[in-house]
C-alpha cells in the first residue's frame, strides 16, 4: 500500500517544530507501524535527509519505550502499543498523522522522542516496598489470597509508556500512579508504607506538572495494557485514608 505521512519534526527541545509530509510506498500489511517508519527512514537516509527520531526497543509490546500519537490517538486505533500495531489496521492511500506524546510533563527531545523521566521520579517517591536484599522472610511465610494476587498482577502489568498522560485532556498521570498504588496496596507486603506511598507519589505527580483527574476515562481507553479506571478510585480512596491518618 501507499501512504502519506504527516510527521512532527523538531530538532531539539528548544526548536518550535512543525509538521512535515512524506510519501511512503511498498508498505505491506504484515509490517508493524514502526517497521513502516524504518522503511521511510531508509528512504530518507538514501536521499540525504536525516532520519526521523522515534523511540522503540523491545518491539513486542512490553518495554514501554515506544509511543506515538497516531491520527490523534495514543498508540493509534488498536488497543496495543505502537510497536504491536500492524499496517493491516490502515488502508491503501490513507494519510496518517504522527506526533509525539502531548504533555508538558513529557518535553520533546527530538522529533517524536520525549522525556518521561517524571515517571521515574514519581516511583522514587514511594512506588516500592522497602526491603533490603537478603532481609526477606521465606516466600511462603505470608500467603496471599489468589484474587488479591491476581488483581495486583493485573495492574502491575503497566508498562510506563505514558499513553494515559498523552490521551488525557488534563495531562494527568493518575492511571499510571493508581496502577502502582493498587499493585502494592493489594499485597500484604505493601501495607506498612501504604499511606506514605500515596501521599508522596501524588505530591511528586503534581510537582512534575501533570494535571488532575476529572474522570474522563481517555487514559484507560488508550492504555495498551487495559489498566482499569478503578485504580484511580483506589488512589483517591488511599489518599483520603492516608489524610485521615494525619498524613
Amino acid at each position: 500500500m501507499k501512504l502519506t505521512l504527516k510527521i512532527w519534526r523538531q530538532t531539539d527541545a528548544n526548536d518550535a517544530g512543525g509538521m512535515h509530509t512524506y510519501d511512503v510506498d511498498d508498505v505491506s500489511a504484515d509490517m508493524s507501524f514502526l517497521e513502516m517508519l524504518d522503511v521511510l527512514n531508509e528512504q530518507l537516509n538514501a536521499k540525504g535527509e536525516e532520519p526521523i527520531a522515534f523511540d522503540s526497543d523491545c518491539r513486542e509490546g512490553i518495554c514501554g519505550m515506544c509511543g506515538l500519537m497516531i491520527n490523534g490517538e495514543a498508540h493509534g486505533p488498536v488497543t496495543t502499543t505502537t510497536c504491536q500495531l500492524h499496517m493491516r489496521s490502515f488502508t491503501d492511500g490513507e494519510t496518517i498523522t504522527i506526533e509525539p506524546w502531548r504533555s508538558d510533563a513529557f518535553p520533546v527531545l527530538k522529533d517524536l522522542v520525549v522525556d518521561r523521566g517524571a515517571f521515574d521520579r514519581i516511583i522514587q517517591q514511594g512506588g516500592f516496598i522497602s526491603v533490603n536484599t537478603g532481609s526477606a522472610p521465606e516466600a511462603h511465610a505470608v500467603p496471599v489470597p489468589r484474587d488479591d494476587a491476581m488483581r495486583a498482577f493485573n495492574v502491575a502489568t503497566c508498562i510506563g509508556c505514558g499513553a494515559c498522560v498523552a490521551a488525557c485532556p488534563n495531562g494527568s498521570a493518575s492511571l499510571f500512579m493508581g496502577a502502582k498504588i493498587t499493585h502494592l496496596g493489594e499485597l500484604p507486603q505493601g501495607q506498612p508504607e501504604r499511606d506514605s506511598r500515596v501521599v508522596n507519589m501524588v505530591a511528586q505527580h503534581d510537582h512534575e506538572g501533570f494535571g488532575g483527574c476529572t474522570n474522563i476515562g481517555e487514559c484507560t481507553a488508550a492504555c495498551p495494557k487495559e489498566i482499569p479506571l478503578d485504580v484511580i478510585s483506589q488512589l483517591n480512596k488511599d489518599l483520603r485514608t492516608a489524610m485521615k491518618h494525619g498524613h
Partner: protein
C-alpha cells in the same frame, strides 16, 4: 558427592574416541595462549564452596562504603539488582542505561518464569538437582562451582522478590504456584502469567529507584558506555555519551560492573530488543577482557516465523507454551499446504514426542530447535514459502483446549496467544500457531572468575554479559535466575573483597589513560560521520545478520565458517569506506548510535566464527555438522574440548589469542545428554 540417578542416561564411548590429530580447523586464525590456571573457586566439597568464599571475602567497613564509587552499566535484572543492593549497602553507585528509564531493559521481555529449588511441589527437587539439570542442560560446558552457587542462591531470589511485591501466580490457598519447563522433570518454575521478566524487573527497578531517593544511586538514562578506562591495569571508569546532547562524559570510579546483556543482535534478526548490543562488552574486550565461548548461541524453538524482508525483529512465544501445546508437522509433504485442521490425527507427526518419548515437547531448546530445522529441511515445514522453503512447524493447543477448556488455556497463556494473533492476524484458539527457531540468548560472554571478575582487575561482569553458568545451552527460566542471583546475591559479596583495598588512588581526568579513552571515542564518532559513503547502517547490520545466520547459526561447518570469516572481513572493509551516517555528533542521532554498535558486532561476528571453527565438536547450541551421532544428535568430544575458550584481543588485524580453561567436574559425571 554422588551423581544424580538418571534413568535415561547412557555413557557414550564415542566421547573418548580420539579425533584425528589434525583437527584444529581454526589453526590459521588464532595464536595459542597460556591456559587459565586459576578461576578463584574455593576448593573442597561443592556445597561448601560458596559459604567458604563469602566468609573469606574481606569486608568493607560501612563508613568506608560511601567513599567507594561503583559504576554499573545496564539496568536489566543483573544490573538493577546489583545497583539497588550496592546502594542499600551504602556504596556510591552510578547506574547507566541506554533506554529512557531503567525499567525498560530487555529482561522485561522474558515471559515464562524463573527457576528456584524451593521444592514446594515435593516432587524430588533440590539444590543438587537444579545444579545437575543446569550442568546437564548446558551439555557439560559450564563451570560447576558457579552453577552450584546459582542453584544454591536461587531460593533466596524468590523470597526477595515476593517481599518486594512481585505478584507471582498463586494457588487458591494463597501459596505460590509452579510450572515445569524444558529439560527438566520437576516443577520448579515460578511465574507471573507470561510476563515474569517484567514483574521481576519492575521489582528490581523499584528497589533501584528507592535507592535513588535515598541518595546512594544516581541514574544516567539515555547514556551509552563507549569505552572502559583502564589505569595501571585496573578498570577505573567509563566514557559514556549522553545520547540526547551528544556530550562525551568521563565517569571515574573504584570499580566497574558490566551488566550490559547479550549480543544476539549480531544476527540482526533475533528476539532481542532493537537496542541490545555488544558495545560495552566489546570495548572491554578490546581493552583486555577475555571473551569466552562467543559461539555459544541459543536458538529458541518457539518464535513467530519471519513474514518478510521488512522484518526488524522476531518475537518469542514463551517456551511455557510447550507445557500444553503439542508440536507437529504433516507426515506427508503433500499435506504441508493444507489447512492444518483438515489433516487427520494419523497423518500428523508429533516428532518431538516420537523421537524423545521421555521429555516429548519439553526437550531442551537446542534439541527442539534443531529438530524443527530438520523437519523443515526434509520439506515438511508449514506456512508460507520463504525462498522456496516453508520454515514453520505447528504448535497446537487443540488438545489443551479440550482438556483444560478455553478458559483454562486463556488464564495460563492469554497474553501470549493474544500477541500471536496481533502479529500474525491468525487466531490460535482456532488454528494451530506456527513457530520457528530464532536467536534468543547467548551463553557466551566476557570471561569471569568465580568472583565474576573479568581478566581486567576491577571489571566485573554479571548476567547474560558473562559466560559462566549455562555452558553450551541454557535451560528455560534460568536467565532470570542467573541475572538476579548475580546482582542480588553473588556480586555484592565478591566485589567487596576487591573494594576492601580501596578507595584507590584518585585518577585525574588528564591522566593519559583517560585522555586516550576519550580520544578513541571521539575519533570513532568523527569517523562514522565523515565516511560519507552510500550505505545505511541498517543495511550493513542486515548483511552481517544474513552471514551469521547462514554460516554460524543452527548448524556450522568448517567450510561455511571459513567462508563467513572472509565475508565478514570484506563487509568490515566496506563498512569503513562506504557507510553513510547523517546528522551531527552533538545531538540525538540514532543512526550514529547504531553505527558504533554495528561496527562492534562486525568484529564480534568474526570472533564467533573463529570460536565455532576451533570447536570441532557439537555441544548444546553449537552444532558442528562434522560431529554428530548416527541419528543426528550432537556429539561432544570431551577428550579435546572440555574447556572454556577464552579469547584475548591482540590488536586490530592481529590473530586473537586463545586461553583455555579446563572444565573439571568433581560433583557430577560427564555423560552423553539423552532426553529419549
Amino acid at each position: 558427592m554422588t551423581d544424580m540417578p538418571d534413568t535415561t542416561l547412557t555413557s557414550d564411548p564415542s566421547h573418548d574416541a580420539p579425533l584425528p590429530v589434525d583437527t584444529d580447523d581454526a589453526a590459521d586464525y588464532y595464536t595459542p595462549g597460556a591456559p587459565i590456571a586459576d578461576t578463584k573457586a574455593p576448593q573442597g566439597s561443592i556445597d561448601q564452596r560458596w559459604q567458604t568464599r563469602k566468609f573469606e571475602a574481606r569486608l568493607v567497613n560501612p563508613a568506608n562504603r560511601r567513599k567507594l564509587d561503583v559504576i554499573i552499566v545496564g539496568t536489566g535484572l543483573a544490573g538493577a539488582s546489583a545497583a539497588a543492593t550496592m546502594g542499600e549497602a551504602g556504596y556510591n553507585v552510578k547506574s547507566f542505561c541506554y533506554q529512557d528509564s531503567p525499567r525498560r531493559a530487555h529482561s522485561i521481555a522474558a515471559q515464562g518464569g524463573i527457576n528456584a529449588a524451593k521444592n514446594y511441589k515435593e516432587d524430588g527437587d533440590s539444590v543438587h538437582r537444579l545444579f545437575y539439570d543446569t550442568v546437564k542442560g548446558g551439555d557439560y560446558r559450564s563451570r560447576e562451582s558457579n552453577v552450584y552457587r546459582l542453584a544454591e542462591v536461587s531460593t533466596n531470589i524468590i523470597d526477595q522478590c515476593v517481599a518486594q511485591g512481585v505478584p507471582f501466580a498463586r494457588e487458591y490457598g494463597g501459596l505460590l504456584d509452579n510450572r515445569s519447563f524444558g529439560g527438566v522433570q520437576v516443577s520448579r518454575t515460578f511465574y507471573a502469567r507470561g510476563q515474569t521478566g517484567q514483574q521481576l524487573l519492575i521489582g528490581a527497578y523499584q528497589a533501584l529507584e528507592r535507592q535513588v531517593a535515598a541518595g546512594t544511586v544516581a541514574t544516567f538514562t539515555r547514556h551509552e558506555m563507549l569505552e572502559v578506562i583502564v589505569v595501571d591495569g585496573k578498570a577505573r571508569g567509563i566514557i559514556a555519551r549522553d545520547m540526547v546532547t551528544g556530550e562525551i562524559e568521563t565517569h571515574l570510579a573504584d570499580v566497574v560492573v558490566l551488566a550490559s546483556g547479550g549480543y544476539g543482535n549480531v544476527f540482526y534478526l533475533s528476539t532481542n530488543a532493537m537496542g541490545c548490543n555488544v558495545t560495552a562488552a566489546w570495548r572491554a574486550h578490546r581493552k583486555g577482557a577475555y571473551m569466552a565461548n562467543p559461539c555459544y548461541t541459543q536458538i529458541h524453538p518457539t518464535c513467530i516465523p519471519v513474514s518478510g524482508s521488512h522484518q526488524s525483529k522476531l518475537t518469542l512465544m514463551s517456551e511455557s507454551l510447550r507445557n500444553d501445546g503439542r508440536i507437529w508437522v504433516p507426515k506427508k509433504k503433500a499435506d504441508c499446504g493444507k489447512d492444518p485442521r483438515e489433516i487427520p490425527e494419523e497423518d500428523r507427526d508429533y516428532y518431538l514426542e516420537r523421537i524423545y518419548p521421555s521429555f516429548g515437547n519439553l526437550v531442551p531448546r537446542d534439541i527442539a530447535s534443531r529438530a524443527a530445522k530438520n523437519v523443515c529441511d526434509e520439506g515438511r515445514g508449514v506456512g508460507p514459502e520463504v525462498d522456496g522453503v516453508r520454515r514453520g512447524v505447528y504448535l497446537d493447543f487443540r488438545d489443551a483446549i479440550a482438556r483444560l477448556g478455553k478458559d483454562g488455556v486463556e488464564e495460563k497463556y492469554d497474553n501470549l496467544l493474544d500477541m500471536y494473533e496481533r502479529i500474525t492476524g491468525e487466531n490460535p484458539y482456532e488454528v494451530p500457531m506456527r513457530i520457528y527457531p530464532a536467536v534468543h540468548y547467548v551463553m557466551g560472554g566476557l570471561w569471569v572468575d568465580y568472583d565474576l571478575q573479568s581478566s581486567i582487575p576491577g571489571l566485573f561482569v554479571t548476567g547474560e554479559a558473562n559466560f559462566s553458568d549455562h555452558g553450551a545451552n541454557r535451560l528455560g527460566a534460568s536467565a532470570l535466575m542467573q541475572g538476579l542471583a548475580d546482582g542480588y546475591f553473588v556480586l555484592p559479596h565478591t566485589i567487596r573483597d576487591y573494594l576492601a583495598d580501596g578507595p584507590f588512588e584518585k585518577v585525574d581526568e588528564a591522566h593519559p589513560a583517560v585522555v586516550e579513552a576519550r580520544t578513541s571515542v571521539t575519533d570513532r564518532i568523527e569517523h562514522f560521520l565523515t565516511v560519507n559513503g552510500t550505505r545505511s547502517v541498517d543495511s550493513y547490520h542486515r548483511e552481517l545478520g544474513h552471514i551469521m545466520w547462514e554460516y554460524c547459526g543452527m548448524e556450522r561447518t568448517e567450510d561455511g565458517l571459513k567462508k563467513a570469516i572472509d565475508l565478514i572481513r570484506t563487509l568490515k572493509d566496506d563498512f569503513n569506506r562506504n557507510l553513510k551516517v547523517l546528522g551531527t555528533a552533538d545531538s540525538l542521532n540514532q543512526s550514529l548510535e547504531k553505527a558504533g554498535r554495528v561496527a562492534d558486532f562486525i568484529e564480534l561476528g568474526e570472533l564467533m566464527c573463529i570460536d565455532a571453527l576451533n570447536r570441532r565438536e557439537s555441544c548444546g547450541g553449537h552444532f558442528r555438522a562434522e560431529s554428530q551421532t548416527e541419528d543426528g544428535e550432537a556429539l561432544r568430544h570431551d577428550d579435546q574440548y572440555a574447556y572454556v575458550a577464552a579469547w584475548e584481543f591482540a590488536g586490530d588485524g592481529e590473530k586473537p589469542v586463545l586461553h583455555k580453561e579446563d572444565l573439571v567436574y568433581t560433583a557430577i559425571e560427564m555423560k552423553q545428554r539423552s532426553y529419549k
